[in-house]
Each structure stands twice: as C-alpha cells, then as structure tokens.
Symmetry: C2
C-alpha cells in the first residue's frame, strides 16, 4: 500500500506540474518560448501517463492491503482509471493526438474561409478514431458511453440523454415565453480600472485571500489548482461589458471546489473534483445562482456604483439585477445568457451522439446544425462561423464533453433546491456580503469528498435522487416570473 501511494503521489505531482505548465503557458510564457514550452508539457504529460499505466502499478493495485477507508477508495478509483487506461493501445492514443493537432489546424483554416467543407475530412478522421476508442470497450451499452465516461465516470449515455431531453423540452417553451428585457446598460463602456476594483471586492467577499489564491489575465479565462493551497484564477477585461465579473465568479466556483477537497486526499487520485459536470455545477452555481441573485446585487450594487459612477450612479440594484438576467436567443454559445445556454449544449450533444452512432454523416452536419438552431432557438444561421464552426471542441477530438456543461446546470439546480431548504435565509446573507454559509455547505456536502464517490452516487447522497432537470427548470421559471413582475 505504501509503495502504491508513493507511485500514485508521483503521478499526482506530474499531473499538477502539467497543470502549472498549462497555466504558465497562458499567463507567463514568452511568445518565443512556445515550441519548447510545449515540449516540456508533452514530456510531463507523457511521463504522468507512463508512470501510471506501468505494470508495477497494476501489481500493486492487485496486492494492495488498504488500512482505512481512504486507502480502499484510492485503490478502487485508481484501479478503475488504470483498467480504462490500459484498454486503449498507446498507438491509438498517439494517433488521436496527431489527428487532433491536424484537425485543429484545419478548423482554424475553415474558420478563416468560413467554410465547413475545409474542416470536414479532419473531423471525419477524429470521429473514426473515437469510434475505434469506443470499440476498445465492447461491453459498452452504447458507443458514446466510453467517451462520456472520460468526463463523467460511470454515467451512461441513456441517463444523460434522458435528462438532457427533459431539459430541452422544458427550456424551449420557457424561452418562447420569456419577457423582453432591456439590458443595453450592460453593453456600454466599463473602464478597466473599475472592473479590476469590482472584481477584487467581489472575490474578497466570496472567499479569495492572497494566501492561497491569485488572479491573472488570460485570453480564455480558466482556473488552475496547482495545489490545494495554490488556486489560480484567470480572467479577461473587455472595455464594453462586465464579462470579467461573471467569469471571475465562475472560475472562483471551480477553484473553491478544488480548495475544499479533504486535504487527506491530496497526492492521491481522489484529490480532485468528482467529474466535469460536478465541476461545472460549482462554477455555474456561483456564477448564476449567486452572481445573478437579488441578494448578491443588493450587496454588490454600491460597490458597482463606486466602480462605475457614470454607469450606475442613477440606477437601482433592481435594474441591474434584472439586466443581468435578460434572456435573448443568440447564435454563439459562449456569449449566450443563462437560460438559452442549455439549448446550445443539447443541440451539440444530440449532433455528436448522431455522429458517433453513424446516424448523421459529417457532410450533413451543417444542415442539421442550422435546422436545430431554428427549431430550438428560432434563429437562422447565416454562415458556418456563426454555426457549426464556432467551437474548438470537435477539432480537438473532444466528444462526450459538451453534455457536461448542461448536466452541470442540472446538478446545480438540484443542489440549489437543497440549499434553499438547509439555508432558508441565504439570499439575506448574500445581501450582507456573507458567502461563508454557502461555502461551508458546499464543502460539507460536495467538495470534501473529492473523487471518493462517483458522480451519480454523490448526487444520490446529496439530494437523494438521480439526475433531474425539474429543480433547475423551476429555478429558471421563478427567475423569469420575478423579472416579468419587476417590469410591471
């Protein structure tokens, strides 16, 4: 057991070092160092993989004698990861990496030319390799299962699909009936100095301190937990919106999850969040349930006024809170509002599932994309860049990842309903700038477990049931009703 823990600790160190290199690449690296920096990261990632799938690790996992529950969970989770990793031939892993790099280049070229056809062959190759990966798991119920499992260990396509279908069927009428809200006040000039001041005030209040956190700028915001005591958020500042505020709150949710994992799980495979959807549930819960709530804005508004006197001086917190909750169908996922966002995801999930199943041909993808955009969002797609070419994911071979965004919202909705029961005065606490009760609740019910429970088991434990979009839809409906009332 001790040798096993040492081995797994080494793999953990390599993985965290790879994360630091990824952070460094976006935040610190000099442009002229890009190629060699990529070599460092490739070497560290390769070693992390090699040292984990080593025969000796397999022997140690077979012979391990756990001395406590954490040991037992460590062996169980590591064995699952190990067996999955060993089933995929290293030639296939290498070929997927090569094809992904080529497809990424093809995707960028296709975007320049605004022409899906330029990307189609590379996408077809990515799909072919993912089907080969899937074929390494012949016992799978569905060829999409092994792909989804990389992000949501244990979750089946059937369960995810059923939940997402119900989400879709709830969202479409909700959006059709959503009140038209004037949010033009959010699309004015917001000086960056004010944005920085506001972001710092908000993060301080949420629970960020300079002993364990830092905030930097990056082209695409992300959070990196280099270690439990070293959480690094990034954001970006645009002159003409408040994206920096919401992206910081979002990334804070990811960072807090990693920070509040039980320290006893550090340097084991248990010392991370449970899954991608669980991670997204945390970032979305903070960004949306907290950051767009009445209580939050009652507290935040004077700070926002101080940061942007020329914007908010003669406004009320109610006006701003209503504006940040405006619903308006749009073509681009990353700038979609909270409510329509889910439909962007369901659309992608349905299409990638059909591609993997072979029910949809690559050449027919743009037409299918445009058709569903009309059906779900009521919008015409003018060209490929505003449609099927907008996301980088498929070019990198990420199939099975998109659904986790929407599953995260569903989980967040289920948690939020539980939180409303356990902490009935939570909105009042937010209005006082007190976010500690929520942090503590999340640590206790979700964060501390790390990967000790599989996603579905964790959900059963926290909310007493399976994936269910009803609470999330109810939360959105309540919000839309409140917005409509405020307008009258």
């Amino acid at each position: 057991m001790d040798e096993l823990l040492r081995r797994l600790g080494e793999v953990y160190d390599l993985e965290r070092t790879a994360m630091l290199l990824a952070w460094d690449q976006e935040v610190c690296m000099s442009p002229a160092g890009a190629t060699e920096h990529g070599e460092l990261r490739a070497t560290i990632e390769r070693l992390a993989h090699e040292r984990f799938v080593d025969d000796r690790v397999g022997e140690l996992l077979g012979d391990a004698r756990p001395r406590d529950d954490i040991h037992a969970d460590t062996v169980r989770v590591a064995l699952r990861d190990f067996e999955k990793a060993r089933r995929v031939p290293s030639d296939l892993v290498a070929e997927m990496a090569r094809a992904g790099a080529a497809a990424r280049t093809a995707w960028m070229k296709a975007r320049e030319l605004n022409d899906f056809a330029v990307f189609a062959p590379a996408l077809a190759r990515n799909l072919e390799l993912r089907r080969a990966l899937s074929a390494c798991f012949p016992e799978a119920e569905h060829p999409y299962d092994p792909l989804l499992d990389d992000y949501e260990p244990g979750l089946r396509t059937a369960s995810a699909g059923a939940a997402l279908e119900r989400l879709r069927d709830g969202l479409v009428p909700l959006i059709a009936a959503a009140p038209e809200i004037d949010d033009s006040l959010l699309h004015r000039t917001y000086p960056q100095a004010g944005q920085r001041a506001l972001v710092h005030t908000v993060l301080d209040a949420l629970g960020v301190d300079d002993q364990a956190w830092r905030l930097d700028e990056a082209e695409h915001p992300f959070a990196a937990a280099v270690t439990v005591g070293d959480i690094r958020l990034t954001t970006r500042y645009h002159d003409d919106d408040l994206e920096s505020l919401f992206s910081c709150i979002h990334e804070f949710g990811h960072g807090l999850y990693e920070q509040q994992v039980d320290p006893a799980l550090a340097r084991t495979p248990l010392g991370n969040g449970a899954s991608s959807a669980w991670h997204e549930s945390q970032s979305r819960l903070w960004e949306n349930m907290v950051g767009r709530s009445p209580g939050f804005w009652r507290w935040c508004f004077p700070h926002a006024q101080a940061a942007f006197p020329e914007r908010f001086g003669d406004r009320t917190w109610q006006e701003v809170q209503r504006a940040v909750n405006a619903v308006r169908p749009s073509l681009i996922r990353v700038s979609a509002d909270e409510v329509t966002y889910g439909l962007h995801i369901v659309l992608r999930f349905e299409l990638e599932l059909a591609l993997i199943e072979g029910a949809l041909a690559v050449d027919d993808l743009p037409a299918a994309w445009n058709e569903r955009t009309q059906a779900y969002l009521g919008l015409d797609v003018p060209d490929d860049c505003h449609g099927v070419l907008q996301d980088v994911h498929w070019s990198e071979g990420l199939f099975g990842y998109f659904p986790t965004y929407a599953l995260g919202n569903i989980i967040a909705g289920q948690l939020w309903a539980r939180i409303a029961d356990d902490l009935p005065d939570i909105d009042e606490r937010f209005a006082e700038g007190d976010f500690a009760p929520l942090r503590v609740w999340l640590a206790q019910h979700v964060h501390r477990h790390g990967r000790r429970l599989m996603g579905e088991d964790l959900l059963e434990r926290v909310v007493g049931g399976p994936l269910d979009p009803t609470p999330y839809l109810g939360y959105l409906e309540g919000k839309l009703q409140a917005s409509a009332q405020l307008m009258t």
Copy 2:
C-alpha cells in the same frame, strides 16, 4: 543515437521544468501552497536524476554512433555526467539532502541567536557527508576536487587555488591604496517608480525584448532560462539604493548566456552555460565592466536624470560613475563593492578548503574567519551574524561553489582584455547606447558553445591561455587610477 537523444531530451525537459517550478516558487506561488509545491519540485528533480542514471542510458551511451560533431560532444559530456552521477550511492545523495535541510534550519536558528555554536554540529555533519562524497572518487588528487568539479567540470583545486592566491595578493595592496570616494549620493531615497522606469530603459537597450524575456520581483534576484526563448529575470526594489539597476544588469548577463547558446544544442546536455564560473563571468562582465563603465554612464545618465530628477538634476555623469565605483572594505559579502568582493570569496574558499582537508576544526572556524577578515579587509568582526553566519551556502552543503564567484571575475577580466583588442571603440559604442557589438562578440566567442568545451578548454580557445588574474587586476587598477584622477 536517436533513442539516446530522446532520453537526454526527456531529462532536459525535466530539468527545465524543475527550473520553472523554482522560478514559480519565488515569483507566483501562493504561500499556502509551499509544502505541496515543494513536493512537485522534489518529484520532478528526482525523476530527472533517475531517468538520467538509468541502466539503459548507460547502455545507449556505450553503443552510441555519433553522426556529427554535436552528437560526439553530446555523448562525451553525457558520459562524463553519467559516470560521475553513478559513482555516488543514492543513499548518500538522500542523506545529504536530509542533512542539508536540517542544517539550513540550524543555520536560521543560529542567526536568530547570533551564535555559531548552534550551527556547528549541523555544519560538521554536512562536512562529513561531503568528505564521504569525495571518497567516492579515490583517484582525485585532492579531496576538494570532486566538490569543485560539480560546478567547474575538470578544474583542479590546485589550479583554482593558485589563481585565487594571486588574486588575493594583488587585491590586498590595491584596496589599501584605493582613493576614498564620497558615494553618499547613492544612499538616498530612490522612488520605486523611477527605478522601474530606469531598469526597463536599460534592459531594453542591453537587448531585452518582450518576445523572449520577462522581469519580475523576487526576494533574492536570480535568472531562470525556462527555455532558450523564455528568459526570466527577477530583481528587487529598495527605496534607498540603486541595487535594482545593477542586479538587473547582472541577471541579464546570466540570461543572455543561456539565450545565445547554439539552438542546435537545445534538449541535450550541451544546451547550458559551460560552468558556474563561466556563468558568473558573464553576469559580472555586464554588471561591472559594462554597468560601471564611463561609456555606459555617458549614455545612461540622462535616463537616470529623467527617472530621478531630484537626485541627479544637478549632478554630472562623471560624479555618478565615480560613486558607483567607490571602494570601501565592509563585512557583508553581498553588499561588497566590485573590488573588495574578491577578498570575501578568497577568504571563504581558503576556509572551506581547510575544513574539507581537516586542517581546520569546525569549532575553530569563527576565529579563523575573524582573523582573515582583519588580515584581508582590515576589519573587526563584531559578531557571528556579521561574520561566519552571513551566507546560506555552507548550511545547504554547497562546498566548492564559492570560488566560482571569484573565478568568474578572473575570467571576465581575461575576456575584457580580449574584447578591448577586438572592439577598441566599445566604450564609445556604450556611450551611444549600442550594446549589440558586445552581445555579438560574446555569442560568437563564448555563448554559442554551450557545454561543448570544458571551462579550461573554452578559456584556452577564447584568450589563448589558462586562468590568470593579471588582466582582471590590471582592469581594477586602471579604474582606481581613473577615479583618483577624476577627484583631483
């Protein structure tokens, strides 16, 4: 050969990643992450060592068929490193690390109490382990040889000692006769904004651009070459001196060396500077030969005036250049001037040599220190913190490192004499803010070779002779004469 190059490339990547972690620890790491960050670095350093001393590397080195001169040099240098590393039992390596950590703690405690006796037992243990290390190389002429060889591959104690003795005998009378210069103008308040502006102007002129370089703050300034295209300098800003300027020029010298190594040597054991003394020759050459020269100050002075109008508004460049060349014996090495610095180093070298030989007992070290400080610098040491306890090196087990500081100055003196022949108008070029000819000369004669030549062979090739302090002493003497003339 190809497998060997892949293996060595992996070791190189691990070593550079360890350097990035070291940089990150000083510049970016959150305090609460210190312990786990240390684990990451220890794992990467251990893997770099293990992957290099692996049996397979030995086989590959034995069977390698070099296809060109770079391959041949790679095999030769890697084989030397490999055989040296394999001679030291891993138990001894681990024990040295443990004893070093304990001694570092004891040293800090001793400094708090200002009492060498608290540190003495830990120092004795460090010495005992270094003698054990030395005993792994029974063919060595002198027990200090294997220690010195870690920093100066191939250099013998006898050669280093002879050069340092001649340096000492030249410096003592030079310092006794040095003119008294009023440099009080350097010990006033220098606003940090002005320091930052000046540092950036100077580094830009020296050759720093934002494609390949960055500058951050750290408690103890250092340079890290994460990759050839990613050179990271650090400095610190004090309100009451201009240390930031000279430390930046110093670290630039280290960084430029790494940047100008032949790119064809990247990811091999040849892709670094030749030795510690060679590295120090570069940093000292830029800091002192360039940064304290008349030409540099003719160019820099208007920029310094702009940065500090209240300090330099009614001064001349001659006054400032004279002040930055003031000579005054003092007790603390790190704040010593250019001329007396060498004696601080010779003193340490002589004492650590006597400790390793067993000619000096640990308990007698403070008395020996104080006696030599009086003999070389004419100063009484009031207490251990101002004497034998001032440096961290011996607590970390660094024996063989101190002499490289002074050897670096000697080499810089030899290079400078050659440069004066090859670039007779160099001071005029500096006066125009043109440092390119010096950069190019150093790249051509020194930097590009990386580790392809051993230190002494490189010196023979560049200056046509062995280590010789005469040019350095001549350079200092010329400077002191110029200072004395300026005063009259």
